[in-house]
């Protein structure tokens, strides 16, 4: 077991956003976190990343409390993949990916040939090697998301925390990112991701956690947890869940009150 959360309460300053959260993440497991806007997914991630203090309970990384790890040691174990964002300055893709080497380098040193090789391998593994010298500001949203995943892999972590990795991507890029997440899990990486799309949880997640009204209301395999009833409770939308002939993937289709066209 790599990450264990026990009786966690989290939030900003005085405000408690969520409480009594317990879950664990096994090696090579993909855990998807679903919840309506404002349910506290991002706040929970920030707490797991050590950006916000734990209000109550424990977060154990390799059986040791998160607070007992130094920031640098933590960054070698847990890597964060933010939502693809616009960078301020036109760093090249390779320069952005190299930043992932920071926890492995002494404060005053710069990345060397070995770091460069690790960064290039991470890019090549995601089919991004041809973009290495392009400015990060000039590539597409999907390519930025891939570059940020490559940066996280360059940290050589055992856990990836991904905040809505498919947000703002077109359908093709969404599927490409999801398929890469699956292959990362095959390589024994543990992944926690948040998503607003139940279909995506069906596609990649080994387990799903539902966060609602500051509580963890369900935790288990996608089949058990992502039921029409649960999604009704989460989003107040009526859905039908089934699979299409020829595809193993389960899908979720909404039922509108008004007749469909």
């Amino acid at each position: 077991m790599t990450l264990e959360i026990r009786g966690l309460a989290f939030g900003y300053g005085e405000r408690t956003v969520g409480a009594d959260i317990s879950l664990s993440l096994a090696t090579g497991e993909v855990l998807a976190l679903l919840g309506p806007n404002g349910a506290g997914k991002t706040t929970l991630f920030k707490t797991v990343l050590g950006l916000l203090p734990v209000k109550a309970g424990d977060i154990l990384l390799d059986c040791k409390p998160l607070s007992a790890w130094s920031r640098r040691q933590r960054a070698k174990r847990i890597a964060y993949v933010p939502q693809a964002h616009a960078a301020l300055f036109p760093f090249t893709v390779l320069e952005v990916v190299l930043m992932g080497r920071a926890p492995h380098l002494a404060p005053f040193s710069s990345p060397g040939a070995r770091d460069r090789r690790i960064a290039m391998e991470a890019l090549a593994g995601l089919g991004m090697a041809h973009l290495a010298t392009r400015p990060y500001t000039e590539i597409s949203g999907g390519e930025r998301q891939m570059a940020l995943i490559a940066r996280a892999l360059t940290q050589e972590p055992s856990i990836l925390v991904m905040d809505e990795p498919t947000a703002n991507l077109d359908y093709g890029n969404q599927m490409r990112v999801l398929s890469h997440i699956r292959s990362l899990a095959e390589r024994r990486l543990s992944v926690v991701l948040s998503t607003h799309n139940p279909d995506h949880a069906f596609l990649v997640a080994d387990r799903v956690a539902l966060l609602h009204a500051s509580k963890l209301i369900a935790l288990g395999s996608p089949r058990e947890v992502l039921t029409a009833a649960a999604l009704k409770q989460l989003y107040d939308i009526d859905v039908v869940i089934g699979s299409i002939d020829g595809s193993k993937a389960r899908l979720c289709a909404p039922r509108f009150a008004a007749p469909l066209p």
């Binding site: 300053g13 920030k46 990343l49 050590g50 950006l51 920031r71 640098r72 933590r74 960054a75 070698k76 847990i78 890597a79 964060y80 933010p82 616009a86 960078a87 301020l88 300055f89 036109p90 760093f91 090249t92 390779l94 320069e95 930043m99 992932g100 920071a102 926890p103 380098l105 404060p107 005053f108 040193s109 710069s110 990345p111 460069r116 290039m120 090549a124 090697a129 041809h130 290495a132 010298t133 400015p135 500001t137 000039e138 940290q155």
Partner: protein
């Protein structure tokens, strides 16, 4: 090594070559700058150097002009231009804002208030410089203390807003002293100082700011790669293992130190810290390992050129602040309009 990697190595090599080219251009400019002015042109300078080399006595007036007036001025322009541009590049990265300049946290304002008080009290020049230096550091320390006391969501933004408030207070202080100052003697001196000049710079001035410049430059050089991570914002940098509070505090202190040292002898020279890092970024890219030297060299070269203009375009010396703004502002507008990707 695959082709892409080779391409990136080639690009790095080209950018390094660019730095050497810039350094060469700066050296030539410095030589030209030694030979421009009212008292002695290029031919006199060559003659003076020739006679000095052959051991003959030189014209004493000429050698005074060369070694006691022009050399400090050229050295001062190089140091101060480099200092302001280095501080500007640092602040722009640190506050993740390409429109930030070295006076963002009130350092120029504080240094001005110090100098203005010094002039008002008729202190000797060296004391005016010391008070000005202290004023710059104090203003930033005040802005920093306020910014840290307010537990906002974005520490960088809180700091900038605190700096603007401190700058406004300090500006009020300057205005008050201008009203109280003797309009025939002190007020012109104050106005002139506030516009920046290298006219009165001495060899002692140049030597006296060197320690502060060097001390301030050390952290910038040591953190040259970490600085790139600070442009990602606090939270992302922290997840990459960076202690952002400590790093920001050290870098702000360093950039403030070199700005205050520069402003204390030259007065307020605007625009260099804002515009030069953009030019440097267009030349060598945003990686601070190359951006820092490129900004420093470009800043030196720019101030050398502007100072040459200052002493040659009119019968009286034009204050530098007027020229840097007159050249810098249109250039900056062109930069904005042409959509060059110095920032996104």
């Amino acid at each position: 090594m695959n082709r892409r990697q080779e391409a990136s190595e080639v690009m790095v090599a080209e950018r390094k070559g660019g730095l050497w080219l810039l350094a060469g251009a700066l050296f030539l400019l410095a030589l030209v700058s030694m030979a421009v002015g009212k008292y002695a042109g290029p031919s006199e300078i060559v003659a003076a150097l020739r006679s000095a080399a052959s051991g003959q006595a030189t014209d004493p007036v000429l050698s005074t002009v060369l070694w006691n007036v022009r050399l400090p001025r050229v050295a001062g322009a190089i140091l101060i231009g480099a200092a302001l541009a280095a501080a500007g590049a640092t602040y722009q990265g640190l506050f993740r804002n390409p429109l930030v300049s070295p006076d963002i946290l009130g350092v120029s304002g504080g240094a001005s208030l110090g100098a203005v008080i010094g002039i008002f009290l008729s202190l000797p020049v060296i004391a005016i410089q010391a008070v000005s230096f202290a004023g710059g550091l104090l203003a930033v320390a005040a802005a920093y203390a306020v910014g840290m006391a307010i537990r906002g969501r974005d520490p960088a933004l809180t700091l900038v807003l605190a700096g603007i408030a401190v700058g406004a207070l300090v500006g009020a202080g300057i205005s008050l002293i201008k009203i109280l100052a003797d309009p025939y003697d002190q007020l012109p001196a104050i106005t002139y100082w506030l516009l920046g000049s290298l006219t009165a710079i001495t060899r002692l001035d140049v030597v006296s700011i060197l320690p502060a410049l060097l001390v301030g430059l050390v952290p910038l050089v040591l953190f040259r790669w970490r600085m790139n991570l600070m442009t990602l914002g606090d939270e992302e940098a922290q997840t990459l293992g960076v202690d952002t509070r400590l790093t920001r505090a050290v870098l702000v202190a360093a950039a403030t130190l070199i700005t205050a040292a520069a402003v204390s002898v030259s007065g307020v020279i605007g625009w260099i810290g804002l515009v030069i890092p953009h030019i440097a970024r267009m030349l060598v890219g945003p990686d601070f390992r190359r951006l820092l030297p490129a900004s420093m060299i470009s800043g030196s070269a720019y101030l050398l050129v502007v100072d040459m203009l200052a002493r040659s375009i009119a019968l009286i010396e034009v204050p530098l602040g007027i020229l840097t703004a007159a050249v810098g502002a249109p250039f900056f507008l062109w930069l904005l309009a042409s959509g060059r990707r110095a920032w996104q």
